[in-house]
Amino acid sequence: MSACAEGEPSRAPIPMERPEAEPLSASGSCQAGEAEAEAGSGPAAEEPGGRAAGTMMEDCLSKKIEITVSEAEKRTGRNAMNMQEIYTAYLIETRAVESQTEGQCSPPDSLWRRYSEFELLRNYLLVNYPHIVVPPLPEKRAEFVWHKLSADNMDPDFVERRRIGLENFLIRVASHPIICQDKIFYSFLTQEGGWKEMVNETGFQLKAESRLKALNATFRVKNPDKRFTELKHYSDELQSVISHLLRVRARVADRLYGVYKVHGNYGRVFSEWSAIEKEMGDGLQSAGHHMDVYAASIDDILEEEEHYADQLKEYLFYAEALRAVCRKHELIQYDLEMAAQDLASKKQQCEELATGTLRTFSLKGMTSKLFGQESPEQREGKIKVLEEQIHDGEEQLKSKNVEGREFVKSAWADIERFKEQKNHDLKEALINYAVMQISMCKKGIQVWTNAKECFSKM
């Protein structure tokens, strides 16, 4: 990525290595753990420090402790405005893995957390690990609901699905080779009191980039890494297509519900009809019973499908996490470009002062022309200041360069890890979905076969 200084085509651009652009589809080679050590080809050799060789999967927290979110409980409390509120608290239990394999059944450590604390944790991780695709939380509000589902956050089904989603989130974080080592995360799991204060004390909110700044960078950056640009497009489209899918799926569920439930009416009318029949009566009556079974079966079927929807939702939200990483790259790159531009203009100013030529228009130059030149001493002074600034600028540019390259390397490594995970998880989800459909078809065949037998006895 070369940040070309404006108006200085003759000057060689400050070299900044860009690793070979890989298409999004490249088979992410390595396991997440190894990515750290292998990521990037050429540049890695140039960097003095680079990132420490990554931790292997085996060191992930998830291998050491088992995490579950086992319960949900309604609580009352006071909110920030001292008004009473009802919220749900979730019980997080942690258990050392070894204690289980040894046959000991030691009681788990546990503490209660509410959703807003999970959000706090995640925001902290987002700010401190901008190169990581941070796992998303389950949705804040129920979306993509169809008519039987409640949009109420207090609804027990919603709470249950959220519980599962929160557990999933914790396991994902614990399974990530880098963020699983975070102390704040560990405290979240183990330290009941004072955790919120601890997080706030890290001052992470100050580090958070303003949205406006990020937006500005996105529009103005000139030479972002192509891969990140592609990734951004991909995540936008992924978000769009999964949203669409979830919306239509909800409508499909709604309609299917209707089809099944109307069949329940057959049960009643067959029963009424059988009352006036002689030979036909028994067959009708028992067939009607099967129609009732059929109508009732849809509830379980659709509940199972909600889990599939939740799996899709996770990746819908993951798309946002991907975008966040891209945004960070654009910010860093833009920062770099601005610094390079600034440096170049300072150098030019310096040169102009030294040679006395006025190449670019500047108000100062004009005024000095109109109102008299500066004295040689003044000019010398200015040149000295500029030279110092140039020196500082060059140092800064170098380190920003390094920062930029390191970010690209580590981010891309995590993105490769993420791609593997995504492909694996979504395939699993599709298989589960197909299995659900198969089960539904088999149930349907069973019920109608039973009904047919009853009809045959009419």
């Binding site: 999004l24 589809s25 490249a26 088979s27 991909y234 489209e237 992924l238 297509v241 999964i242 669409h244 899918l245 239509v248 799926r249 409508r251 499909v252 709604d254 309609r255 299917l256 209707g258 089809v259 109307v262 069949h263 009416n265 057959y266 009318v269 009424e272 009809w273 006036i276 030979e279 036909m280 067959g283 067939a287 492909n423 979504l426 395939k427 599709l430 298989i431 979905y433 197909a434 299995v435 459909q437 198969i438 078809c441 088999k442 349907g444 065949i445 109608w448 076969t449 009904a451 047919k452 009809f455 045959s456 009419m458």
Partner: protein, 407 residues
């Protein structure tokens, strides 16, 4: 036969019939009845034939309706159907006939049968009027549905021991030019032998005999239940079609997603195709229900209404008889002599009752068979739908589990 037999022998025959419990129709096959004259509805031998008609082997009249064709004329466009008859009956000059008829011919036949066989239950025709603009009278589905109903209509008549010998039925099946016969028939309206109006004014019946009352009550409830089932079936079809609309949008989204992915492209495409197959299967299911299930249901509603009308006619006949009887009883009589017309009324009542009971019996049996077939068919269609979907989903499991070669 009917007009010549003495009332005494007529009563004898009816007594015999009444001695049979309706279920107990295990009679030995009698010799074929002489049907050169309009069939006597109370002929005992016709009673014997009743059993034979349920046994396909002794059937001697086969009628089929098929091959619908569109005719475009200057004045109108209409559909004709080929009516094929195969028979060994003496009433028919030839063993085989094939003529073409249109709906209004069937309608004419039905009216004629109702007129000439007022004591019998005439099978229903599919609905005459269809709302133009709502239903396409010339669409394949509509024509096919109608054809099936017309076929059933003729088959039911052909299977009926009395109606199948009706002269109008014969002409319908055989005449090259039915319109000429129709015109002729109009001229004969005035003749006594033809249109015996049984509904002779409005007499009030005091009470229906128990068995007919029971049938009447049964029919009332039956029609209600059928109506409910019709509404449920329609609602299911509607819900299925709405489900189909959503599915049709759902499948392609997987395909779009597949376009974004590399490793997941094939699995997603597979799911998309699978959903497409389910859509096709669902469409077939709801089409089948619309074309096969609903029309038969509606036919039975019409059939039941017909039956109720026949019951009412019977009531009229009985009411007339009772009224006349009462009138006689009020007169001072030296010798209790039954005037001829009152006797005739009594005959009419008894014959009507006999005919109706027989027809009710056949109707109940046919109804049971028809509904058994109809409902089993409905179950079958649903099983087939699920089997098609099952095949589709099972076939993509290996595709989804497939590990792609490392690129």
């Amino acid at each position: 036969f009917s007009s010549q037999t003495s009332s005494h022998s007529r009563l004898l025959l009816c007594t015999w019939e009444q001695d049979f419990a309706p279920e107990d129709l295990s009679l030995p096959n009698g010799t074929p009845v002489d049907t050169s004259s309009p069939a006597s509805s109370s002929s005992l031998l016709n009673r014997l034939q009743l059993d034979d008609d349920l046994d396909g082997e002794t059937r001697d009249l086969f009628v089929t309706v098929d091959d619908p064709k569109k005719h475009i004329c200057t004045m109108e466009t209409y559909i004709t159907y080929r009516v094929t008859t195969k028979t060994t009956r003496a009433e028919f000059d030839l063993p085989e006939y094939s003529i073409r008829r249109r709906y209004q011919d069937f309608d004419w036949l039905r009216n004629k049968l109702e007129e000439s066989q007022p004591t019998h239950l005439i099978p229903p025709l599919p609905e005459k009027f269809v709302m133009k603009g709502v239903v396409d009278r010339f669409s394949e589905e509509f024509v096919e549905t109608r054809r099936k109903a017309l076929d059933k209509f003729l088959k039911r008549i052909a299977d009926h021991p009395v109606l199948s010998f009706n002269e109008h039925f014969n002409v319908f099946l055989t005449a090259k030019d039915l319109n000429a016969y129709k015109k002729q028939g109009m001229a004969l309206l005035s003749k006594m032998g033809e249109s015996v109006k049984y509904v002779t004014g409005s007499y009030k019946l005091r009470s229906r005999p128990l068995e007919f009352a029971a049938v009447g009550d049964y029919l009332d409830t039956f029609v209600l239940k059928l109506g409910t089932i019709d509404r449920i079936a329609q609602r299911i079809i509607k819900e299925e079609l709405e489900y189909l609309v959503e599915l049709r949008e759902y499948g392609p989204v997987y395909s779009t997603w597949g376009g974004l992915e590399v490793e997941l492209a094939e699995p997603l495409e597979g799911v998309s195709a699978c959903i497409g197959n389910c859509c096709t299967a669902l469409e077939e299911l709801s089409d089948d229900m619309t074309e096969d299930f609903l029309p038969v249901l509606r036919e039975y509603i019409l059939y039941s209404e017909s039956m109720k009308n026949v019951l009412k006619k019977r009531d009229q006949v009985q009411a007339e008889y009772e009224a006349k009887l009462e009138a006689v009883a009020l007169k001072k009589e030296e010798r209790p002599k039954m005037p001829a017309d009152v006797e005739k009324c009594q005959d009419r009542v008894e014959c009507f009752n006999a005919d109706l009971k027989a027809d009710m019996e056949r109707w109940q049996n046919n109804k049971r068979q028809d509904f058994r077939q109809l409902l089993m068919g409905m179950a079958d269609k649903n099983i087939q739908y699920y089997e098609k979907c099952l095949t589709a989903w099972e076939s993509i499991i290996p595709l989804l589990q497939d590990k792609p070669e490392t690129k």
